[in-house]
Symmetry: C2
Subunit: 276 residues, 2 copies
Amino acid sequence: MPTHPLDAATALRAETGAPGTFTGHGSAAYWNMVGPYGGITAATLLRAVLQHPQVLGEPVALTVNYAGALTEGPFTVQATPVRTNRSTQHWTLSILQAGPDGAPLVTTTATAVTAVRRETWRMADVPMPDVPPPGAVPVLPVPEQGMAWLHRYEMRPISGGLPQRWDGSGEHSRTRLWMRDAPPRPLDFCALAALADAFFPRVWLRRARRVPAGTVSITIYFHASGAQLRDTGAGHVLGQASAQEFRHGFFDHTAQLWNSAGLMLATSHQIVYFKE
Amino acid sequence: MPTHPLDAATALRAETGAPGTFTGHGSAAYWNMVGPYGGITAATLLRAVLQHPQVLGEPVALTVNYAGALTEGPFTVQATPVRTNRSTQHWTLSILQAGPDGAPLVTTTATAVTAVRRETWRMADVPMPDVPPPGAVPVLPVPEQGMAWLHRYEMRPISGGLPQRWDGSGEHSRTRLWMRDAPPRPLDFCALAALADAFFPRVWLRRARRVPAGTVSITIYFHASGAQLRDTGAGHVLGQASAQEFRHGFFDHTAQLWNSAGLMLATSHQIVYFKE
């Protein structure tokens, strides 16, 4: 079986004799406007945690800060478990890449929390909205010349899709869509982290105007266990995102991701730069 | 004028010859169950950024991870501007404190983004809910023996207050309240960061059951400029928080904070550990 594009893009080689240091490569297959798709960077950082020999438990929280664009060249991930408690572990992460003069530049910083999950009382306070099943929603065609990363996802917009006309007529900022990897791939924490960043900028929808925009910082809270992700398999994930406040060149959005059985897999928030 | 408790609790001394290294002290005035109130730790970290001689602009995002409890002794804050762009700056932060054997332990990790704010298109997609004004809502009395940090805030619960009976009858997880520092203090970024963590655990409200709970990671997005915070002065802030998902010993909540004029000051999210 050929390697799935997501696994190729997030592949890391552990450096001998330097625990927690990994080498990866910017991935053309997930290219966005001026660098790799932010979701694939988040997935790569999480993969470094999961490949670390000292990892405890499963991902609970991940925050990724996009400090500068990555190029297609090699980069270094440093993943450090700075504090390990009985059932939780705290991580600091960074990506470094040679800058124009060859000196290493920090392109990305991150923190993560992993934990041993156990059964407790449970409650879903944001139930999955009532939407048509994936098969009843047409796949969004991606034009041949569309950005590479868009070809790596199957998206089925239910509501709040890309505006039909960029005429300033936007009325709200909420998108709902079914999505999954293309080609389909069994869901795991890395793929879920990548999916959490798949929403186009809320400012485009709210204004029906395409202005330059880019994620500055994203936080993902993982609610599903690894076993629950395996149960989800290669099925579709329902994503919902809506903005909260646009001001001073930044806006934030909140997002939820459920599997098609209605189980909340992750919640996410991000703050995004926009121009004008 | 005496120093306000918030300023005393977040006071930092810059270490000579070690840029970005500061010394502080655990504050009894903001003591919580097993350490200082998490909001005061967030405020202290932000203060380190704002006191750093190289800071660019104003806070936009702050994520704080609570790795271990602080004691009342001295601690060290390290604040490093790892990447400075034209109008944004990325920070990594940590707090270290001597552990039982005297060796330094990481108690807290954090990342922050600061930026030069500029005027752009703006839109409030989550308008302030219609609530009675602060003067029409009684102040929640704090019992003499209540935790110290509760005495540092004036809270006026509008809805979703602490359950009257801990009888398992909870029906929702949304709290709305007016709040401000006690004694009143002009709002700034540090005070706002501290306020963002002032919500009691959603699991208590949802279950009407008091189980051990503690914040693992909080993210705050600042939407107000410093000038807008100054305009808010010592006025009340409306806080709203509601949970999303409770499972496997963790739940998350989303929160919004407005000033009494209806201006969104900050949005926040956190993931919280709970027992059973």
